[in-house]
Amino acid sequence: MKRPAATSPFTDPANPQVIRAQGPLEIRTEVAVIGSGAGGATFASELAERGFEVALLEMGPYITRKQMNQRERDMLPLFYEDVASQTTADGGIVVLHAHCVGGTTVVNNAICFDPPTWLLDEWAERHGVVGTRRADLAAANAKVNFILNVQKIAPDQVNTNAKVMMRGIERIGIAGDTFHHNRTECLLSGFCMLGCAYDRKQNHHITYVPRALSFGARLYPEARIDRLISRGQQVVEAVGTVRDPVSGKSYPLSIKADAFVVAGGAIWSPTLLLKSHLGNAQVGQNFHCHPIAAVAADMGDETIRAYEGIPQCYYVDQYLQDQGFVLESIFAGPSVSAALLPAWGPSLQRLMHRYEHLASAYVQIRDEDSGRIRVDARGVPVIDYSLSARDAQKSLAGLKLLSRLFLAAGAQAAYLPRAGAPIRTQADIAGMDVDFSPCRVSLVSAHQMGSLRMGEDPRFAAVDSRGKVFGTTNLYVADASVFPTAIGLNPQITVATLATHFANQFSRPLPV
């Protein structure tokens, strides 16, 4: 039976609370939140629910399911920064993140991990973060899970790609599990990383953003903040440009507010602070990005069609705490797959010809060593990050394990993310050696964090344990930048939980 069409006025870009600029905009509000992703939309919604007057500014467009056609050719340019071609400065890691209302959540794979107790303890004990232990965050975490409707992937939703991984895991005798995810009544179409055309993936543009609007917030799509202007320690104004999506014309934008919350993600938040000469020497340091290295396994006669169904269903995390990596099943459309496979010429064509027989999973490392975000003369961020030798060892350990499990699952060959012969035997695994120097191995980052880390000591942190930027009275950060370390696990729930926690502690700045 057909169900009624969506009726919520808050998911409609024509809602009067969604502001279309048709000339220069001057806004006065109580709190301006810059960036509408996992952190910003959550923070905005929480403050609006508490009765604050909130303006939510997003430099990307407001993209709804009506525009989501599941084609890589159209969706990669629409969502991803630099058409998904951004890399670290050394070219070694492809860095993926999105610009749109809802931020990177709109293209994410809906994997949900609560921040683990050991991680929060580590942040408290080794990084001096105060008030973010498990008990402190429990209520905020539960609320995030509630609003995003997080649940475990059901057995009948597991796709064939993940079943190959499960088989291998069972045969080599390690433990894995299906993910929790924030999908509701998923149709299993499999295009999550191009946006969900059916609004079943509960990303922030259909959850926290409309919730914020329902509590009175205003949303400004295509509103890009270029600079924060301060008087002493107080930020008084944010300036930038706003684009009219209909005419394509851009206009100057000015926002005056009592408090400003930066939530542009771990690349753009420090960029904004650096360009505004705000914060201390820690701004931009400590950048982490969970480098990912994938293995593609040729499963011989077995038809996998790994692109069908939920793209990521299964994982192994038993090595995270002591060896610093997790394994996760993954697959992508043909364009992204071909771009990331480390082959060209006839060998690429041969591999792609086997596309429906390929299974794939990756190792994601908890990178201990970090890089930094700086701003070049043109005012754009540069990601100075190179995989360190000790982090590369984690990746290598994961690649060996993945090769083992795929061979155990029946793979004829396991293709590593570097050029050269695939792995076919246990002896190949034993002798595996990967040169991790930049651009010799295909690495990807889907999780950026840490570049405005929190803590209580400004010598080591950029913001305090409530997200307030050191050296300012009314400037906050509420996104993945505040993580003191990489977390190893997929971060969206931790980002939203911290944003909820920060919003709960937020109080009206005292007039100066």
Partner: protein, 190 residues
């Protein structure tokens, strides 16, 4: 392909690239359509790169018939202007500095085997910068080629559901589904 550092880091090499070696840009005639990003010379380089990176075979179409370089031109035209310059520099550098690839003559003067050797020299170069450039070119050609629906049948990739599979609201009306998450506007039962 890069993160806005290519240009800066390529500094010294670009001086070399400006030397009059290899094929000079002006000798290239424009294709019979408007280029949005490439110069005719750059278009020729990318056409040739695509021929070698995604050469057809296995029943797959050849990149020329798909217009891979033309499509790449459209993709690059979407880039942030600050990144645009980097790719122009890369293409000049790529073609004009054969010595870096251990070859005599520019990329465009190579026959098929020479072109492959030229690409392989960039891929395996001891200079990180050249490997970076190679990966940028490789990813561009591969991504554009396989984004084209004309490559999908051979892969047995069925393609998007949108416009093909009716999930209950009519094919033309996929954007009309219900709000399925009951909690979005609910009070959190603290």
């Amino acid at each position: 392909m890069s993160r806005r550092a290519f240009l800066v880091r390529a500094g010294g090499l670009l001086v070399a690239a400006s030397l009059p070696v290899g094929c000079a840009g002006p000798a290239f005639r424009a294709p019979g359509f408007q280029l949005r990003y490439f110069s005719p010379f750059e278009y020729a380089v990318v056409t040739r790169v695509a021929d070698r990176i995604v050469p057809g075979g296995y029943g797959l179409p050849d990149p020329g018939s798909l217009g891979v370089a033309r499509q790449a031109d459209g993709v690059l035209a979407l880039l942030d202007p600050s990144l645009e310059a980097d790719f122009h520099q890369l293409l000049t550098l790529f073609d004009r500095v054969p010595i870096l690839a251990g070859r005599l003559g520019s990329f465009l003067t190579q026959g098929p085997r020479g072109a492959d050797a030229y690409l392989a020299a960039w891929e395996n170069s001891p200079f990180e910068l050249l490997r970076h450039g190679f990966q940028g070119l490789r990813r561009l050609a591969a991504a554009v080629y396989y984004a084209d629906p004309r490559t999908w049948a051979i892969l047995h990739y069925a393609g998007p559901w949108v416009g093909r599979i009716d999930v209950g609201y009519g094919l033309a009306n996929q954007g009309n589904g219900p709000q399925v998450n009951p909690n979005v506007y609910s009070r959190f039962p603290a």
